[in-house]
Amino acid sequence: MASLKSIKKRIVSVKNTRQITKAMKMVSAAKLRRAQENVVAARPYAKKLGEVLQSLTANLEGDLHPLLEKRESKKLLLIVLTSDRGLCGGFNSNLCKAGDRYIKEKKESYEQISVMTVGRKGYEFLKSRYTIYKNFPNVLAKPNYQTAAMLAQEVIDGFIAEEYDQVELLYNSFRTVMTQDITFQQMLPVITEESNISDETPVEFIYEPSVGELLAEILPKNIEVQIFKAMLETVAGEHGARMTAMDSASKNANEMIGKLTLQYNRARQAAITTELMEIISGSESIKG
């Protein structure tokens, strides 16, 4: 049996760890709330913009804008959004593995697959496997619209310059605090859904300026918003995942402390018993 002192030491160290995981959980919980609010706040904008785009492209004929152009898909760009920091369970690794699998699956059907990473963890995971086309670390610490716009510009420029023919976004979408869904989302070329709302008579819109000009403004905007939304969801998901991970870590620590305390008490009891035995046998021998 381990000595009293060494058990005590372990208890203290586990308690310290618990302190840290508890603190991290609290911090994540607070950050999560804010991140969640941001996600919820951004949703209507993204949704409405999608609707506007929908109504614009519904009655559209021909390719009015380069971002709508469907080229033969030879070169794929996969944008992987991960967090910058770890200690959040399988949040990043699951996503990276999904990306890895996806690339392996698609390798046959594309001439070239490039990877762009946003967030440090994704970069670290994927850099050993693939050449990273571009990396943007530390943009998620404070997700703002400007960053998203900057990223969108990068993506759009590359697409127009035909560096790639198709762009997909891979990120953890935030469903609940406990669960994040790994999501693949095609960004470019913009998918124009056929207007399948047949029971609704198409509304004749007045456009000002022309449809083409409006599209030219809305399409890039839409990319920005999609990236922005994905960024927010990643941040919220990260905090959610970290909170859950830290919660279970704290629980494990509690369990560990319980076990160790039991062990400690047993050892103490054993020590006392031995001591008593010694005293008793000592006094017995004096009497005798």
Binding site: N38, A41, A42, P44, Y45, A46, K48, L49, E51, V52, S55, L56, Y145, V203, E204, F205, I206, Y207, E208, P209, E213, L214, E217, I218, V225, F228
Partner: protein
């Protein structure tokens, strides 16, 4: 006139306005326009400018950064990057921004990339100050 329109102003950060209105005027790309209930479906882009809506005789002014304006079945959706009510505008900050933008513009030629950015900043600052001066009027 009992009819009203539903006005929603949404930015990426939050839904700023969600209310019933009688009348809306805004600055479109091709100039100022106004809509009343029963307007035909209409979609336009907005430039940096002012939006005013009237509700029960009360006019509220807002400063908008550029975005879109859609009306359909008496439902108005305004998607903008930023939207501030007169009360929210920090006049001091707008003034400072105006000064900065003017300074920068003096040094730059119109070909400079930065020129456009500062021009937009200048425009925003001017609009903000205009709107702040108006506030809510009867």
């Amino acid at each position: 006139m009992a009819e009203k329109m539903r006005l929603e102003i949404v930015t990426p950060y939050k839904k700023v306005v969600d209310t019933e209105v009688d009348e809306v005027t805004a600055t479109g790309k091709l100039g100022e326009f106004g809509v009343l209930p029963g307007h035909a479906p209409f979609l336009t882009s907005l430039k940096i400018g002012e939006l005013a809506y009237k509700n029960n005789g009360l006019i509220e002014h807002m400063a908008l950064n550029w975005g879109y304006f859609e009306i359909r079945d008496d439902k108005i959706i305004v998607l903008v990057e930023t939207a501030e009510t007169a009360a929210e505008i920090d006049v001091e900050r707008a003034k400072a921004a105006l000064g900065r933008a003017e300074e920068a513009l003096k040094k730059l030629t119109s070909e400079d990339k930065q020129h456009k950015i500062y021009e937009a900043a200048l425009e925003r600052a001017i609009i903000r100050m205009q709107v702040a001066g108006k506030g809510i009027r009867k």
